[in-house]
């Protein structure tokens, strides 16, 4: 099934000065997949994506994107992928229509007006086509950007934190759109901070401080972490929170309303520690489900911060 790999890169390394931002990252993405790219700020997500769309040259590494050599065919890769930047980067002082026409001309899409009109129509912006892009709200800007970078029907779509600062409804609609595109055969790599968005991906990749830490489906990543979770409920949760957090067998304690989320690597040790501390208080302890967020927090505290 090698031919179905849209992204297949190994040992991808990028240094800025003497700082290694991406360290020997490998990634494989199959055709039609939506892969979530997760990691803390400054972990190398944007740099990795930029290397894969030909915007940055890797210091070392090898592999193919859409069957094209990552190191030699940067220009061809640019033509074949769609890349949506983190910050809205179309022209505020051009109208919606002019922005689309600009992009269509750069990709030599013909007939130009058919493409532009169709895109305007699918966006529902036909009546506002003469409006300046800068006057659009955040959600609309993001939809415009998505439409613009998919207008040339790229086989691979790279999205860099596309939903940052967008309201939940617009986010939901955006993800519906992504799934429609994937169903049509487009492969999508999307970086995000949001756990609920990670759960809408077929697979996820977790990168921290330049190192790829985990890859797989959400269930696989959670299971491979070996973490167990207990839920502590009751009135007195705030009184035990500190004692719980200091216990060596407990990794994380996070309050969610009146419930404490207690996470540790060893199920038995975790249970006895919690029972012991909570014994003197009016609290109930039950088995909980480890979430992706718990796993990521563990990754982040485990990985050495080399961004200092």
């Amino acid at each position: 099934m090698k031919s179905e790999l849209v992204i297949d890169v190994r040992d991808l390394t990028k240094r800025f000065g003497n700082k290694t931002v991406v360290n020997q990252v490998a990634m494989q993405v199959r055709r039609g997949e939506i892969v979530g790219f997760l990691g803390p700020n400054g972990s190398g997500k944007t740099t990795s994506i930029r290397m894969m769309c030909g915007l940055l040259t890797a210091n070392s590494g090898e592999g193919t994107v859409l069957g094209l050599d990552l190191m030699r065919d940067q220009l061809k890769i640019k033509r074949e992928v769609g890349y949506m930047t983190q910050k809205f980067s179309f022209y505020d002082d051009l109208t919606i229509e002019e922005n689309l026409a600009f992009v269509a001309r750069l990709y030599k899409l013909k007939p130009l007006h058919t493409y532009v009109d169709k895109t305007l129509e699918s966006l529902g912006l036909t009546s506002r086509r003469k409006q300046l892009a800068g006057s659009l709200s955040g959600g609309w800007k993001q939809r415009l950007a998505l439409a613009a970078c998919t207008m040339h029907k790229p086989k691979l779509l790279l999205l860099d934190e596309p939903t940052a600062g967008v309201d939940p409804k617009a986010r939901r609609e955006f993800w519906d759109e992504i799934h429609v595109l994937a169903a049509e055969g487009m492969t999508v790599l999307v970086s995000t901070h949001y756990m609920d968005e990670a759960e809408r991906c077929h697979r996820i990749s977790y990168i921290a401080y330049g190192n790829m830490l985990a890859q797989g489906t959400v269930e696989e990543v959670v299971a491979s972490s070996g973490l167990h979770t207990l839920l502590v409920k009751g009135e007195d949760t705030d009184k035990v929170a500190h004692t719980l957090a200091d216990h060596p067998d407990i990794d994380q304690v996070a309050p969610f309303g009146s419930t404490l989320h207690v996470v540790g690597p060893n199920e038995d040790k975790l249970k006895s520690a919690v029972d012991e501390i909570c014994a003197d208080y009016d609290l109930t302890v039950e088995l909980g489900e480890t979430t992706l967020e718990d796993v990521f927090i563990k990754f982040m505290s485990d990985s050495k911060d080399n961004m200092q």
């Binding site: 930029r50 769309c53 030909g54 915007l55 940055l56 040259t57 940067q74 220009l75 640019k78 033509r79 890349y83 930047t85 910050k87 809205f88 980067s89 179309f90 022209y91 505020d92 992009v103 750069l106 990709y107």
Partner: protein
Amino acid sequence: MTHFFSISRFYAMFLKEFIQAKRDRITFAMILGLPIIQLILFGYAINNDPHSLPTALVYTSNDPYTRAIVTALEVSDYYEFSHVGVSASEANDLMQKGEVSFIVTIPSDIATRIQRKDKPTLLVAADATDPAASSGAVSALKNLANEALARVNGEERAIALQRAQRLQIIVHRRYNPEGISQYNTVPGLLGVIMQITMVLMTALSLTRERERGTMENLLAMPANSAEIMLGKVTPYLCLGAVQMTIILGAGQLLFDVPFVGSLWLILFSTLIYVFSLVLLGYFFSTIAKSQMQAMQLMVLSLLPSILLSGFMFPFRGMPHWAQYIGECLPITHFIRIIRGVMLKGADLSQVGNELAILFVFVFVFSLMALSRSKRTLD
């Protein structure tokens, strides 16, 4: 008391500005560099009473009087006889090209006239397109020639002065007989105004993309460096055409600046000139990290363009090192072309060299810009 002036808040602000100013290296360099450049240019290069102006000497006879006058003129520092013994038509051609500022003609009958105690005459044609350049040299001429004649005859100085009354110098101020300085300024101004606007506009073009964050997107799309560069600079060629129409139109209407030569030659030269400017500006935008830095580079290039191009001060009157710098500026060559064509009616064969140099600038600036443009964000 917090509403009154607080020293610590003032200090916080002061410190922040100071640190920011220190971090902006180019600005810092400009603050230190500009005064030094200005001092050197104004102090050494610029001369309102220019000396060593290139002159063509036309003479046919080889009598002692002629030789004496030639030697006397040569040792004076007002003239530098770059072309000696040329024919009258060659001399005219040289002046039209702007290679000489004066033509001194010694008539062949000067010896006979002096011996006959007739009034001897000396013809001087001055390129009066730049009145400032010619006036000092013209007024010095009479004394020089008289002293020369005096020495030939071995007479006393008193007698020489007597003779001075008799030596007639006929000065012919060509192209601008009334010495109207606008004739010289307006065509030059066209060059300067275009230098300011064209370089500024294009110097901002890439830095604006960078500051607005649109650069990343532009680079992610399949446009190559040459497409981006040419696409960004050519709109300004049209703008340049509009500017030229305004300036030349105003020059005619308001100042009656003569328009002797070919309009098409002017249009074509201006087009090439503007093209070289927009590419220079684009090159700046590939270096500058911010719009502020781009503006400073523009100012840095503007200063020598005004002072060393022959726009404000006579080019030939500057020391050689300043002339060399001047030769490296497109505006110097444009000013020669436009003054030559507009005021003296020079044709393509006479300004062809200068036009070729403008083409070289276009070529060099585009190579410089392209070598600095990146297709990636590395």
